[in-house]
Symmetry: C2
Subunit: 280 residues, 2 copies
């Protein structure tokens, strides 16, 4: 089979590498409006060739939409206008907006909305790696709105990538990822800004920064072009979680101000409950 990867970055590039290695696809066509990325994707062996969107769609069996989510939402109706029997899937971090935008498209059923829960703080073709995705979760949203054969092919792809598939509706997905992904990015961005604002002696931070600091601010390296549209599309859920998070931080602040160390102890012991949820 032939796959087109639209947006050859961390996710699209990593997926291309795996699907070719697994033998599911023999030919990978790249589509990227960034000429440097397109060139780099060929050099790195992520794709066999690059083509225009139209040519790529016509010559493919599978179309993976892996651009930032704002661009994906603009491209999806254009792609669906052109597909006949091809299967189209996306990998965006929000699902409600894109699903709603093509809800009444005549070719809606050729589209499968997905979100593989893997990424790093790096982006672009050079960030793509082999053997990504293994043992991570992926979400397929509202599968009943897609053709059975389209869902089956996407399930086969995620099976080959050794991912664990969860099924949920788009609105539930967006609420859950606000908790387990989007808020982590905001706290990390804000923590980086706190340190950069208050601590001018950067060399000292550099020297002192231990593993704990690095792990909490690592996500602050993440790309703004990817994250602004995510926060924009998932604004209500993110605001809801962010308000709760600020309220939780205020409890720590109040404990310190009032020197209420008994309650501080309780807050920390409650937080230790996260051990129930974390795998490692």
């Amino acid at each position: 089979m032939t796959i087109t990867i639209i947006g050859i970055g961390l996710i699209g590039g990593s997926m291309a590498l795996s699907l070719k290695e697994k033998g599911l696809v023999q030919r990978v066509i790249g589509v990227d409006n960034n000429a440097a990325h397109a060139h780099q994707a060929i050099t790195l062996g992520l794709v066999d060739e690059c083509a225009t969107l139209e040519k790529a769609i016509d010559e493919s069996d599978i179309i993976l939409l892996a651009t930032p989510i704002g661009a994906a939402e603009k491209l999806l109706p254009i792609i669906l206008d052109r597909v006949t029997k091809q299967v189209v899937f996306d990998v965006g971090s929000t699902k409600h907006s894109i699903c709603t935008s093509i809800a009444h498209h005549p070719n809606r059923k050729r589209f499968v909305a997905t979100h593989p829960m893997w990424g790093t703080e790096n982006s672009g073709p050079a960030a793509a790696i082999k053997n990504a995705f293994i043992k991570k979760a992926t979400v397929i949203c509202s599968k009943e709105e897609s053709d059975v054969d389209a869902v089956a092919l996407i399930e086969k792809i995620y099976g080959l990538l050794q991912m664990h598939i969860l099924y949920m509706d788009a609105a539930s997905h967006d609420m859950h990822v606000a908790y387990v992904s989007h808020i982590s990015h905001i706290t990390s961005f804000a923590l980086a800004n706190t340190v950069l604002e208050k601590e001018r002696e950067e060399d000292t931070i550099f020297e002192l920064a231990s593993g704990g600091f690095e792990s909490t601010v690592r996500l602050a390296k993440s790309n703004a072009d990817m994250w602004v549209p995510i926060f924009m599309q998932n604004r209500d859920n993110v605001l809801d979680v962010l308000n709760e998070h600020i309220a939780q931080l205020r409890k720590f602040k109040a404990c310190l101000e009032k020197e209420n160390y008994t309650f501080l102890q309780e807050l920390i012991e409650n937080a230790n409950g996260i051990r129930r949820i974390l795998k490692n």
Copy 2:
């Protein structure tokens, strides 16, 4: 030489393992008011024997004070009352309070105040590991207040542990660690509480949680008995950084509320500046 480790947990236990392996000490005496931990430390081979504080001091060349910082501050004058030529050092996460507390002790100069910048979210003897500390930073505070031979021995110890030594006064140390360590723990505790409070579907979080979430909440597993005294002792610095952090989070909140995505993009791009500071 013989070393006494008072408080045989993550740090004390890991240090005992390394110093014996490096051949600096031939005998390790453990002192721990938790009988189960004392027993476990012997079983795990972290210490050769356990003893009372008095006996341990009398038979040692080096005394490592590795309890939570509240206990350390209570024990240090008692230890200094008894030492003659021994060298005493601590590894606590705050330095100003403990240094002030023994500033006028006649044996002050036998004490070296230190803080190795390594740890994990785990605690107790079972958490101790070999080859900890390598290539991490450690701080020696106010070295001019310690005897030259005492500082030289501690420098030798950290050299054997392959740590990079920084020198600063206790007050500066406490301010810097509020930025690079203490605030990370508070944000992580608060983030864990946010998710546990708002997201009742724990199975869903468990399934969806990706590496990014795990890395930002990992520190929330940290032990309350260790951290409450740290926040207590470093209250002013921690409150200062916490206030700034809440102010930074409010900027993200305001961007979302006002749908000011241009400023949101700027906030994220500014946060990306943390790449300058992080080693990896």
